[in-house]
């Protein structure tokens, strides 16, 4: 997971005899993009065509659907080519433009500060840097201050922001997620987990640097790269943090998600409309559930923890072996221990009231609007530098896009999610908790959720935007019951946020930065920083693995897909696919695995060859890759991708979309 400005050139040359050209590096930088909601993407034509996963375009597909069109389930094809591509109501795509190292500015601002003062100085510096960077045009530029090596380096990332993202083509869900939950994180896979979007600039397709398709796809053993935005990893985390995650955080999240999984599963069985409304949410929950279950397994692995413990022991010994070093670095692990003690105490209320690693806490789109209005208008009243992270001027365009979205709200689903989360809130904090009493009063979670969802007007974008424009005065005066709920929760949520920021995150960041400095001093910059949902390049080869004694080949093909199709969900193919069985080349590769080091957020990353062609599309990792959050194991961890050969074959033969196939293969190098 190397940053573009620090590629491992020596390793690449030594192992693969490959030296990337300046043109290759420039193409990989400029043609890579990310979706603001948390996926990777790439440009795949000169006219702003974007490739990502079907599961990354879920929201757009659902939001464009209505009672008579279920594009999520049945797929979509712009009926008259470019002129008819509809705008995704709430999608933002960011293309990386520039990276600036701002480590010195940040370190200077933070020097000597502790707790709340530290948090404030950090926020103020970030706000100033970001404000300067967007140069007065936050709808065109997006700037993020990114902490690397847990504070060892700070960088400012500038992105070209596209808020006019349109839908070009998506396959049916049966093909995109063939095998569904049982096959998820497994291999062999037969998923065509792709979607094509297009970014527009001034009402016209944007001009973009891009990866042309190699329609033949990659070969077994071939060197390949992924360029994407891995969301986060915890490879530099201390043993104390890992213990907290194993004992407190992961069990709580798994319990909450599993309950949501069951509730949404049953909700979806009640009617076809319910199923359609809930499928995106359910997919997300089941995916997260599997990720956290994988975490739990890795965190329980004594070998992994032993390795981390050995590293800490040796670094601590190295520090203490020299009095100057002992003075310089002190004992950062003691600070971490103190912060973790606080986090153990406040994690559950924090997760339920303020939310960590969404979706968590009080649920539902309508509540989310209310919380955005209550928090957002109050923060907007403050000087930019005093605001909480996520609520600065630079964030306003994304907040407004969220509030102004014309995507439909699903009241029955919202009511279920709200009722369930209020039930969980009371369960987690207890019926005697002050906030719980204030929120529920004399109502049950079911009664309160029903009343709020039926009475709120926040389903209407105009109402939301009027409140947003009216600012904190309008929001504080509002009697909309969903706003009242968000206002009721706000003081407790803010108090927990302050404790988390000042007593946990600030000292943890300081301690991690000291550890990172000590490590640099001892070992040099011999590794990449933990993932931060910013662009990273990873190299690897197309290669199967050995699973408990039997070899898993690197490729699947169309023949295997038809063999696996039982006819029942989730192993059911649409009629178009059934009809195509005699026309497709059954030997065409379908999905493949590589040794590339990826993690959540890499979904939608292109797989690129040494020439700069797209040869695949990352959509998953195998079950072992879930432990990659804590450590990468090259013998077992595999990235899973759709083969470009499968994409072209399916577009031509199954989806009758020669135009798109042509656009993708036009620029072959």
């Amino acid at each position: 997971m190397w940053t573009m400005d620090h590629l491992p050139l020596d390793q690449l040359k030594k192992t693969y005899g490959f030296t990337p050209s300046a043109e290759w590096i420039n193409r990989v930088t400029q043609a890579s993009a990310r979706l603001a909601l948390g996926c990777s993407a790439s440009f795949v034509s000169a006219d702003g065509l974007v490739m990502t996963n079907h599961h990354c375009a879920n929201e757009c597909l659902e939001q464009l659907s209505d009672k008579t069109h279920d594009y999520f389930t049945n797929g979509y094809k712009a009926p008259h080519g470019q002129t008819s591509e509809p705008k995704c109501p709430a999608m933002e795509l960011d293309g990386l433009d520039h990276i600036t190292d701002v480590t010195d500015q940040m370190n200077k601002a933070l020097a000597g500060r502790q707790g709340a003062e530290f948090t404030h100085a950090q926020q103020a510096t970030e706000a100033a840097l970001e404000k300067d960077c967007v140069a007065g045009d936050p709808t065109r530029w997006r700037c993020d201050v990114v902490t690397l090596y847990h504070g060892g380096r700070t960088a400012l990332y500038r992105y070209r922001r596209y808020q006019d993202v349109r839908l070009v083509m998506a396959p049916d869900q049966n093909a995109a997620f063939f095998g569904g939950d049982p096959d998820n994180f497994n291999f062999p896979r037969y998923d065509l987990d792709m979607a094509f979007l297009r970014v527009y600039d001034g009402g016209k397709p944007a001009k973009t640097t891009y990866f042309p398709f190699d329609p033949a796809g990659p070969k077994d053993g071939q060197l390949v790269f992924t360029s994407g935005n891995p969301g986060s990893t915890s490879r530099e985390e201390s043993v104390a943090e890992l213990g907290f995650e194993r004992d407190v955080m992961v069990p709580f999240i798994v319990g909450y998600y599993a309950t949501m999984d069951g509730a949404l599963w049953q909700f979806g069985r009640q009617s076809a409309a319910n199923r359609q409304d809930a499928q995106d949410e359910l997919f997300g929950i089941q995916n997260s559930l599997k990720v956290y279950t994988g975490w739990a397994e890795t965190l329980a692995d004594p070998t992994m923890l032993a390795g981390k413990t050995a590293f800490e022991t040796s670094l601590r010994a190295w520090i203490n072996a020299d009095p100057t070093r002992a003075r310089t670095y002190g004992d950062p692990w003691a600070r971490i221990d103190a912060a973790i003690r606080v986090e153990r105490d406040i994690f559950v209320p924090y997760a339920m009231l303020e939310g960590r690693r969404a979706p968590m806490g009080v649920q539902g789109d309508l509540f989310s609007f209310a919380k955005t209005l209550v928090r957002g208008t109050a923060e907007r009243d403050k000087p930019d530098a005093d605001r909480l992270t996520g609520w600065r001027d630079a964030n306003i365009p994304a907040i407004e896009a969220h509030l102004a979205s014309t995507a439909p709200v699903h009241p029955a689903l919202d009511e279920t999610m709200l009722a369930l989360s209020l039930t969980k809130l009371r369960q987690a904090l207890g019926a005697d908790n002050e906030t719980v009493r204030l929120v529920l009063g004399h109502e049950s979670p079911d009664q309160l959720a029903a009343r709020l969802v039926h009475q709120t007007k926040l389903g209407d974008a105009k109402v939301r935007m009027a409140l947003w424009k009216g600012g904190s005065t309008a929001v504080n005066a509002s009697t909309d019951p969903m706003i009242v709920l968000a206002r009721t929760l706000e003081p407790a949520a803010r108090a927990l946020r302050a404790r988390m920021d000042d007593e946990v995150r600030a000292p943890m960041r300081q301690a991690a930065e000291i550890i990172a400095r000590a490590r640099f001093a001892r070992d040099g910059a011999n590794t990449y920083p933990d993932a931060t949902f910013t662009q990273r390049v990873s190299y690897g080869v197309v290669k199967g693995w050995n699973e408990r004694g039997h070899d898993v080949p690197a490729f699947t093909d169309f023949a295997g897909l038809y063999k696996r199709a039982t006819g029942a969900d989730p192993f059911r193919l649409t009629k178009a696919w059934q009809d195509a069985q005699n026309r497709v080349d059954l030997a065409t590769p379908f999905d493949f695995v590589t040794t590339n080091d990826i993690i959540g957020g890499n979904s939608g990353s292109p797989v690129i060859d040494a020439q700069g062609h797209a040869v695949g599309l990352i959509f998953d990792g195998n079950i072992h890759s879930l432990g990659g959050d804590f450590a990468y194991d090259g013998s077992l961890n595999r990235a899973v991708a759709v083969d470009t050969a499968a994409i072209i074959e399916a577009l031509k033969v199954v989806y009758n979309n020669q135009a798109l196939a042509d656009e993708l293969t036009r620029g072959h190098l």
Copy 2:
């Protein structure tokens, strides 16, 4: 958790100046009982009147309900006293009659045997002992071989078996489970979690030794006893076993139960009928979920594990300090490690296909009938000594009562449970698993569950009993699709059962027995054995505790109940309760806590004073008591009981049941 034949007389005398009389011991033994389904109970009148918890009578209340009567929700009162008490369709109550020490017989039978041979010898010995004990009358006697101290002692328990158990009175669910899930395992509590049953013998109320009520209840600080059947504890378990439970077993069970919790929660919200059908199942799931969540917290506690590790280290050192001891005891922990390695590998498939700690694996009443028929008829064909535990001649009456039960089946609930569990089965074992493929074929879990539930005839007790009488020939020839499912699962389930018995349980038992012997040799019999769902007496005092800095008083009262009643579920009181507010004595104690050491299975235990009066009814523990599975902490662990004063006040004033109140207080000593 002392056994009746080894009460800690010295400790009682020293600490409390109390020496139980022979009459007291006899009364406590004879007036204690248990429900075969897993609760404790006691006789509380000379005419076979039984006191237990409302939540222990759930099944009977649901099974006697129909479309127009919901006794579970609304409560029950036999309309014309004794003559009108209806029979619970599937309830068995066992009164302890006699305990025989059979350690020598068992040790002789097992000496020198390993693996499958060991398992078989153990089964054969148990079968012979039990057969002899029931003396040809298994409908009158129930005999269980019980392993104490993990093999250190073996005892034969004989019970007077009552299969004619009738319903006398139950309060409404709002009162029984006031505060519902949010208040569960908390205190203060305001639950009237009681139910009264009556055992009949030859069509007449049985004559029983009993605990007369003290209608004043206990005082703060008073010495009290509980007599009940704690289900199981793990206090003698090795560190390796605890690690397996923490890393593999508990996370898997919590994930499965949380999903069921969510699914049943949403199922219940669909209609009033659904809610009624699912409430018993949902209560059980939520209760178990809380128990296992408590386990997870305790297992993650480094102090607890450090204590266990220190014990093992010191015992190992003691063994190795003497060559004779080293020869005698060897290294039992190495054997445990090897067994745990197997259990880690097979636990998930075992849990899903064979079931451990029910409910687990494939779900639903209809499937449970099918599995009983397939397994039961095959086992019945073998000599008693060759059968698996649970399928011997001594178990036949309970099996037949289950199959012949006239309790209604709820098809919608059954279909949901079956679909969910088949989904989980495929998820846990993978779509490529042989058994999963055999079971699902070309159907989805939803399709298969719908077809099976609609086509099976096993909802009819006559059909079940015909198959049972027809034996394995009839069952093997049956085309009933639920039987076909059970038959399809059976080979894999049996194979896993054999591995679990031979490669895990047998060596674990042998190792535990060696450890128990070494411990006896070093420390003497200074403690009680792990709980085994057999009668145990625990002593303690009525006493509050300090919860994170604030004192929790030992008692609640009626005034507090009315104050807590918001009017919304689960803090809603029925009209009868609301109307009674002006008539009850608001200062009457309601629930109270004691330091008695209890665990699941103790539900329904009487709280007894030094004279032999009933002064309370155990129905729960506080959240800290959940960790009691692994260690008892007297500063925090509390048992939670209904006060006999509350029972009498509610019967008289709220439920207008003077006759029952009179029967309960008639024999005051």
